[in-house]
Symmetry: C2
Subunit: 343 residues, 2 copies
C-alpha cells in the first residue's frame, strides 16, 4: 500500500521508484519469475528474451496489478498475471520500436537496432505467445480472455495511430480513443486482474478498472506533455521524440488547431526539420496560447473522472491503494510546468 | 470423411481441392465465421483483415481439424477452433512476408507490399490476439493452452530459422527440428483439437496428434522438394523461391553436403545470381546424386512414422479419415518426379 509520505519529493527523477519501495518483494518475485521464463523459450531466442527483459522499464502495469491485489502477501497467481501483462507490454514495445525505427529506448539499443527488424518481429510474437501461454495456466479462462482482449485493443490502437499519422485530420475524440486503446487498456486490465485475483466482488472490480482506464489516459496525456516539457526535452536530449516520429500527441494537436488547416502540414514539416530551436519556439508558443495549461488540465480531468468512477468504493481497498497514484500524476504534471513566465 | 475415390487424379492441380469437396459445408461455415470476425476489429484494421482473409490459402489446418472432428455435423466449436488455427496461420504468414520481403504470395500482393511492413507487423499482432480471444471463449483453457503453445513454437521456429540462414552450419537434425516447429506444430494441434472437441479419449487424441505431426513434417519436406521440382519451378515461374530467400530446404542441404564445406558458400552465391539456368543445372545434379529420391523417401518415411504412431487406432475413426491424406501426399511427391531420365 502506498502511504502518503512515500509520494516522491520533487527531486525524485524516476517517478514511480518510491511508490515501488513498499512492494519490493513482489517486484523481485516478478523479476525472478520473468527470468525463469527464459529457459521456456527455444535456445535460439533466449538471448533476445533476456536482452529484452533487461530493458524492462518502470513495471507500471505490474505495480497497478499489485496495488489492486493489495500486495499483502506474495500470491503466485498475482506474480504470474503481472508477468503476463509485462510480457504483453514488452512485446508491444519490441514491435513499436520497429514501427518507429527507433535505435534507442531509455538510452539503450532497441532489439530491432541490435538484432534486426526481422528478429524483432519474431521476438515480439514469441513474447506475446508466451504471455498467452502463461495466462492459459489459470484455472479458468478469465485471465486469457482479458489479456487477449486487451492485446487486441492495443494492437488495433497502434494500427489506427499508424493509419492516422496526419495531424490535420485527427480530432480530439480520435486522439482520446487512440490513447485509450494503446495505453489505457493495459492499465485498465492490470487493475481488473489485481482486484479479480484478490477476490473482490464484480462491482469493485469494475470500479477500479474504470479508475485504471482514466489513469492510463491521464498518464498518456502527461507523457505527451513531457515529450515537450520534460527535463530531457528541455535540454534538447530527446527533442520531442514522439513529435519527430509523427506520433499524435495532444500538445501538437492543440497547437495545430490554432492555425488554418492549410498551414498545418507546412508547420509540421518546418518543425521536424528545424530541430531544437524550432522545438523551443513551439514550446514558447504553446505557453502563450495556453496549451500547456489546457493539456495539464486534461490530465487532471481524467484523474477526477477516475475518482468519480470509484464512487462509494473510494474509501475502501483496493481504491485506497490507487488514489495516491492519481495524486502522484498530478504532481508530475506540475513539475513539468515551465519555469519561465508566460508572456 | 475422405473416400478413396476422392483422392485427386494426376490432372488435379490444386492438391487438396478434391478432399475438401466432402466438407464444403464446414469450409463455408468457416468462411462465414471468419468474415463475421471482421467487424470485431477496430474500423481502421478491417480493410487489412478483409484483404488478408481473401488471401487465404488451402485451409489445410482447418481441414485436418474437421477430419479429426469427423465432420459429421456442423459443430460450432469445431468451426471456431478451425478459425483460431487459420487466423494464427494467417498471422504468421503476414509476418513471414515481412521477413522474406515478399511482394507476392499465391500471385497476389502481400499485406506488407500493399500496406507497408509496419501495418503488416500490427495486423499480424491483431490477428493473433483475436485468435487467442476466440480460443478463450471455450469453456475451459484447453484450446487457449494448445493454441498459445503452438504459436510460441511456430514463432520460435521462425526465429531459429532466421538465425540459421547459413546452409554450411545446419545439420539434418536441425532442419527437422525447424520444420517441426514452423510447420508440423500447427498440423499436430489441428489434429489434437479436432479429436479432442469430438470427445475422443486421450490416447486417441495423442495418436492422431502424432500422425498430424509427422504429416506436417512430410508436407514441409514435400513443399521443399516442390520448390525445386514443382511445375512452377520447372517453367521458371518461381525459380526456387525458398532457395532464393535463403530458407533452409532439404534438397539444398543435401546437395551442399556433397561438396567440401569451404565450397558451399560459393556454390550458393553462384546459384542465387545465376537464375533459371543455374536452377536447372542444380536440378539435374540433384537427380544425378540421387537427392530427389532421398528427399522423396524422407517424405515417405514421415508418413510411415505417422501410420505407426496411430497403432491400434489406425482402423478406427478419426484415423480412418486421416490416412488418405498421407497417401495423397505420397502421390503428390510422385507427381514431382522429374520426367527426364536420370543420367
Amino acid at each position: 500500500m502506498i502511504a502518503n509520505d512515500e509520494i516522491p519529493e520533487p527531486h525524485d527523477k524516476d517517478g514511480l521508484a518510491l511508490i515501488t519501495q513498499g512492494m519490493a518483494p513482489h517486484l523481485n518475485a516478478l523479476d525472478g519469475f520473468l527470468r525463469e521464463q527464459i529457459v521456456a523459450f527455444e535456445p535460439e531466442v533466449r538471448e533476445l528474451v533476456e536482452f529484452c527483459l533487461q530493458r524492462s522499464g518502470k513495471r507500471i502495469r505490474p505495480i497497478l496489478l499489485f496495488l489492486c491485489g493489495e500486495c499483502e502477501k506474495q500470491d503466485p497467481s498475482q506474480i504470474r498475471a503481472a508477468a503476463v501483462l509485462e510480457m504483453v507490454h514488452l512485446a508491444t514495445l519490441v514491435h513499436d520500436d520497429i514501427l518507429d525505427e527507433a535505435d534507442l529506448r531509455h538510452g539503450l539499443p532497441t532489439i530491432s537496432h541490435k538484432y534486426g527488424a526481422q528478429n524483432a518481429v519474431l521476438l515480439g510474437d514469441a513474447l506475446f505467445a508466451h504471455a498467452v501461454h502463461l495466462s492459459a495456466q489459470f484455472p479458468d479462462t478469465t485471465v486469457c480472455r482479458l489479456v487477449s482482449q486487451a492485446t487486441r485493443t492495443v494492437c488495433s490502437g497502434e494500427i489506427a495511430q499508424s493509419a492516422r499519422k496526419d495531424f490535420e485530420l485527427i480530432t480530439k475524440e480520435t486522439y482520446y480513443r487512440l490513447i485509450q486503446m494503446k495505453t489505457a487498456e493495459l492499465f485498465r486490465v492490470a487493475c481488473h486482474l489485481g482486484a479479480f485475483l484478490q477476490g473482490h466482488p464484480e462491482e469493485t472490480v469494475k470500479a477500479v478498472s474504470e479508475y485504471g482506464n482514466h489513469l492510463g489516459i491521464g498518464y498518456q496525456i502527461y507523457d505527451d506533455l513531457a515529450d515537450f516539457f520534460g527535463e530531457e526535452a528541455k535540454v534538447g536530449k530527446t527533442l520531442g521524440t514522439d513529435w519527430a516520429s509523427g506520433k499524435i500527441t495532444l500538445p501538437v494537436l492543440l497547437y495545430l488547431q490554432e492555425y488554418p488547416p492549410g498551414e498545418r502540414q507546412q508547420l509540421l514539416a518546418e518543425a521536424r526539420q528545424g530541430g531544437a530551436k524550432v522545438l523551443g519556439n513551439w514550446r514558447e508558443a504553446m505557453q502563450e496560447k495556453g496549451i500547456f495549461e489546457t493539456v495539464a488540465q486534461a490530465v487532471d480531468e481524467e484523474i477526477t473522472k477516475g475518482e468519480k468512477a470509484l464512487g462509494k468504493h473510494a474509501g475502501e481497498m483496493p481504491a485506497l491503494n490507487l488514489l495516491p497514484l492519481g495524486e502522484f500524476l498530478r504532481q508530475k504534471v506540475q513539475k513539468l510546468r515551465p519555469s519561465f513566465a508566460v508572456i
